[in-house]
Amino acid sequence: MKGMVFTELIEMIEARFSLELAESIIEACALPSGGAYTAIGTYDHAELVAIVVELAERTGAEIPQLIHAFGGHLFATFLKDRPALFAQMGGTFALLEHLDGTVHVEVRKLYPDAELPRFHAERRSPTHLALTYTSERGFADLAHGLIDASIAHYHEPITVTSEDLSAGRRAHVRFDLHHA
């Protein structure tokens, strides 16, 4: 998994909770990388899981909630890095429709080995977008957090419902977005 995800997770823990909690979790997890993450490196996905599990234990928050919050944090980071892209998309539907075709293509130019989740967007009506998330990582909640952050960013009256198509593994989930 790309190092950027790890550095951002640590940053989120520092910002939302505290520096001490972040370092304490890293120390407790005894991570093979020692937590010395760099955005341009690649690290074992299991390290991310270990950090999130430890964070949940320490804070008493639910794991899906934490992953969802991380999605929101990642959206803010993307927005800060690529404001022009988000301005150009103009709305959540367009953004999600361009994820696989445009956004992930750009990511692959920089990181050819990035293992990205697959997003299949289907406009079922002018006001209904069905987005299917597929990834063995099972981070559908992160996708949900990104979607919610996008809706908030564009100030859109969109409601989101989701259905897990992978028997609770959160690896294959359909999100239905309805624009009021």
Binding site: L19, E23, A36, I40, G41
Partner: protein, 302 residues
């Protein structure tokens, strides 16, 4: 964990991360350098191969050009060599025919007339071939002057009249009063009209041949358009597609049935283009053919 300890850990972690990032950057830089080197080698190799191929092709082209020039020289020389004895055959054949005629030896006169006819046919073929070779070699000079169209047409009609009558064809001429004069090469115009009219006569029996001449605009350019229509045998689309190629006749049996060499229309097109114009043909089997050619009204710049 107190804040100072946390900060210490964080600094250590950041330092390790920085070193890891530097190592990754260095590896990536080396990788890029190696890819760059490989690309350069590949580019140089490609360039070398392109150069080699270009040199080979240049050589092949030079050989082909030399062979073509040698062939043209050969054909031109041979044609000249053939014409000299052929002129003797035709000259003496004419004398012989007249002598035999005077002696009332009609059978023998008829035989000598056939020798004469074959000789004349060969002469036309050789002249056409020589003209085509000259056009291809860019050596056929044109002599441009103000030309009156009608007298040229009439002179051609006079030549083909015996054939027209032999095939029982009628001839209609429609010359626009505005199409009286143009600047072109009169010899070559006569040659074009003769080729097209004798073809029309040859491939039409008990029918009609119509010649139309009139001014025409091609874009901003003023041209003189000539149409030769016949009600003869016509051609299929396939035959039509090949009709201006050298040594191609509508059918391989055409030469046996109608005579001709298959050079006439190729030469006609080359002549039209040499004079700054072009030629097209439309035709349907059993419904006759129309050949239309056009020439510039005046020479550019005049």
């Amino acid at each position: 964990m107190d804040q100072i300890r946390a900060l210490q850990l964080r600094i250590e972690r950041e330092q390790r991360a920085r070193r890891a990032a530097e190592k990754i950057a260095e590896e990536k830089t080396r990788e890029l350098f190696q890819i760059n080197q490989a690309l350069r080698v590949l580019t140089e190799d490609l360039q070398r191969r392109v150069d080699e191929r270009t040199e080979e092709l240049r050589g092949a082209r030079d050989v082909a050009l030399a062979a073509s020039a040698a062939k043209s020289d050969f054909v031109a020389n041979l044609s000249h060599e053939l014409r000299t004895p052929l002129n003797a055959i035709i000259g003496y054949g004419e004398m012989l025919r007249e002598d035999l005629h005077a002696l009332d030896l009609e059978d023998l006169a008829h035989d000598s007339a056939r020798i004469l006819s074959a000789g004349n046919f060969l002469l036309v073929l050789i002249n056409d071939l020589l003209d085509l070779e000259k056009i291809e070699a860019g050596q056929l000079a044109t002599h441009l002057e103000e030309v009156e169209v009608a007298p040229i047409l009439w002179s051609v009609v006079e030549i083909i009249r015996p054939d027209l009558e032999a095939n029982n064809n009628t001839l209609e001429l429609a010359i626009d009063p505005l199409a009286s004069e143009l600047v072109t090469d009169p010899t070559r115009l006569r040659q074009i009209l003769h080729n097209l009219l004798s073809n029309a006569t040859k491939f039409t029996r008990d029918g009609k041949i119509r010649v139309e001449i009139g001014p025409e605009h091609q874009g901003l350019r003023r041209t003189m358009a000539f149409a030769i229509r016949d009600s003869g045998v016509g051609m299929t689309p396939e035959q039509l597609g090949r009709v201006f190629q050298r040594f191609v006749q509508a059918e391989s049996t055409t030469a046996q049935r109608y005579g001709g060499t298959g050079l006439g229309l190729a030469l006609t097109r080359s002549l039209c283009q040499l004079l700054g114009g072009d030629i097209t043909a439309i035709s349907r089997p059993g419904q006759g053919s129309t050949f239309r050619f056009w020439l510039p009204w005046e020479i550019a710049g005049q």
